[in-house]
Amino acid sequence: MNVSTGPAYRPARSVLCRPHAPYPRGFSFIAAAFLLLAAPLPVRAQEGAPEAPAAPSAAPAAPAAPPAAEAAASDPAALKIRILMARELREDRLPPLSLLDIPPPDDGVAGAKLAISDNNTTGRFLKQEFTLDIVQAATPAELVAEVVKRVDEGIAYVVADASAGTLLQLSDALKDKDAVVFNASAPDEALREEQCRVNIKHTAPSRSMLTDALGQYLAWKQWRKWVLVVGPAPEDKLYADAVRRTAKRFGHKIVEERSFAYDPGSRRSDGGFEQIQQQIPSFMQGLPEHDVVVVADEGELFGEYFPYRTWISRPVVGTAGLFATPWHPAIELWGGTQFQNRFKRLAGRTMRSLDYNVWEAVRSVGEAATRKNSADPKVLIPYMRSPEFELAAFKGQKVTYRAWNGQLRQPVVLATAKILVTVSPQPGFLHQTTELDTLGVDQPETKCTAFKK
């Protein structure tokens, strides 16, 4: 209706990376200065604009950064624990709809920095020193090669901001090494299910955890009849799958599904609302009676166009409107205020979900090192896999890794762009082990077998 079929859709930003708040003025300078410090890379434009293609994977030498010196005064007697952040630069992602949502260049990296600093404050008392190395590359092969090189040099803990496919390549390349990969950004169910790997832990919530969090709240509200609007990207279809599963699980009814084809065209233009104001209501005409509109648009290409523009007055939820997220820059409860403040002082901006997921990963290593008083991956990796491991992560209760697929179980926040609305699991959703396992695929239904040995 409203748009022509555009070029093939490009990989979207993960829903977990969605930004929520504007950056303070002067941010780019701070971020740039920081990036120089942390990772003297070949300079790449990162604020939205696609970059020049990186060197082909056959030439793996150049693009990765040398290790960044983190600890100022190194104590020769201290245990040294190096953590590697591996970033897959996905320049083909479209810039977001809103100017407020342009990801900062240090998205995720700032979370790693904060966790390293938190680890070192504790480490000071235990003579442990944590340092952060960063590698980034635009192609999976290049990234995998760089990570393998670092792991062979002795880095055992890798935090990845990468797509599902790259993660699997990374996992397979590290299969026989003493190393663990934390998935901080990919929500894909398959990584926790059919394609699960023993050497991957997931701090990013899975799609089904996010949609279950939403579904529980809508059940609490008795908003049972849903219209599902699905975007054209593969991720949107996966998100829609998760929505359908959630609807079934919690007794909701999807009264109609509509596919929204959309060609984003030029993102920044002097105009646009005039047409959208006509297009969205007409797209939403003639629907059966419904309580909410669930939008599946992980790439944030069109979802934000729906609130206040539907044909009849219905709330929008899903990837736009009320959305599920592991973290939100407006969280104040659970000691969150101090955590947010520490982050702001360090990064000069608010904390995003990717920062939080990375923080959880780096803190997991710190927590394991503290409890075991060791840097040895042969000690720490099995410990993080054991039921004894637990982490305090500003979520009001301990977070732990699911023993059957390495997923971090955690409360999920439902929020609008500005403020927290609620936290799931909702009251009344009970579980024999932990209520957190009412979010996402549970042990009896898992297709992951790799952890059973």
Binding site: D118, T121, T122, F125, L126, G335, T337, Q338, N341, R342, E367, T370, R371, E390, L391, A392, G396, Q397, K398, T434, E435, L436
Partner: protein, 326 residues
């Protein structure tokens, strides 16, 4: 449901309490209301709110000072402490605190005051009479709990993200020891004889008992409540009777206060109180114990000897800390 049950209990206990309370001294109970920027003052005899004091932003930790003439509260978001008169409830003065003060404690001699700066990984030492900062001591990430040994020699500070109890020499401010405890330690409480420190771990769900002299972990108190998941059992406030026999531990969203036998470190009883119970305060005669129930905006009253909850008193929004003045 909680409220209803308490209503019944309090109705039953009202006459009993009237008998016991009439010959007890009336104390003033000061409750800081974190979200309301007030202190509710409760009369311990009538168990009614008799006054409300306006405070600065985000009042949290609250203690007595100047021989009970002052109540000092951390106005965390104003980065200062405020002093009020315990008889007139009038504002006396501000005290410096360093950034984001959370929990203060006085030296046993009455001065100085030590306060944890949750946002700055510091403990600030303040002269309460001169109103000056003496020094600050770097500690772990998100310092919170503060304990002072009865002999005035050792200060114990807990850090919520470092998960340690830091033993600090109260005179030289030098670190004596750092003891790892469970996740998110909130409160450190010495036994009256000074031999032990009890440290609650909110996320870990335990209380670690440390021997003061050797800094050895003597054991841990663990909790189990039928029908409540482990995740909801989150120990915060700890108060130990002067005779060293009973410890009361507030269990946060489990909405219970545990009564623990100090010698065996075993829970004897769980008392149902209001929602998200955090901090506890005895009357000076230890006949009553007051609890701050954050989410239900009330204070539960526990009769210590009977180990019974006898009343709940509505206070301001999100009650946080409590202290009782003679």
């Amino acid at each position: 449901m909680t409220i209803k049950r308490q209503g019944l209990v309090s109705a039953l206990a009202a006459s009993l309490l009237a008998l016991t309370a009439s010959n007890a001294m009336a104390f003033k109970v000061f409750v800081s209301n974190e979200k309301e920027n007030t202190i509710s003052v409760i009369d311990s005899e009538t168990l009614a709110v008799v006054h409300t004091i306006k405070t600065g932003n985000r009042p949290r930790g609250i203690i007595l000072a100047n021989e009970g003439k002052w109540v000092i509260v951390c106005a965390s978001d104003d980065h200062k402490m405020q002093v009020f008169d315990t008889s007139t409830f009038e504002f006396v003065k501000d005290l410096p605190s360093g950034p984001d003060p959370e929990l203060p404690i006085l030296h046993t001699s009455g001065n100085p005051l030590y306060v944890s700066n949750e946002d700055d990984n510091l403990v600030t030492v303040v002269d309460i009479f001169k109103g000056t900062i003496i020094t600050d001591v770097p500690v772990g990430v998100e310092p919170e709990g503060m304990g002072m040994s009865p002999d005035g020699k050792i200060l114990v500070n807990t850090s919520e993200t470092t998960n340690m109890a830091h033993f600090i020499d109260a005179q030289t401010f030098k670190s004596i020891d750092n003891i790892l405890v469970d996740n998110r330690p909130r409160v450190a409480e010495f036994t009256a004889d000074g031999s032990q420190v009890w440290v609650s771990a909110e996320i870990g769900g335990t209380v670690t008992v440390i021997e003061t002299a050797t800094r050895k972990v003597l054991g841990k108190v663990t909790f189990e409540i039928q029908g409540i998941t482990k995740d909801a059992i989150q120990p915060v406030g700890v108060r130990i009777t002067k005779d060293g026999k009973k410890a009361f531990v507030a269990l946060g969203p489990a909405n219970r206060v545990a009564v623990v036998d100090v010698a065996t470190r075993k829970v004897e009883k769980y008392l149902l109180v209001g929602q998200r119970v955090w901090n506890l305060g005895f009357t000076p005669d230890e006949k009553l114990l007051f609890t701050t129930n954050g989410t239900s905006n009330d204070v539960s009253v526990i009769e210590v000897a009977a180990e019974k909850v006898t009343k709940s008193i509505k206070v301001g929004r999100y009650p946080w800390g409590v202290v009782v003045a003679p």
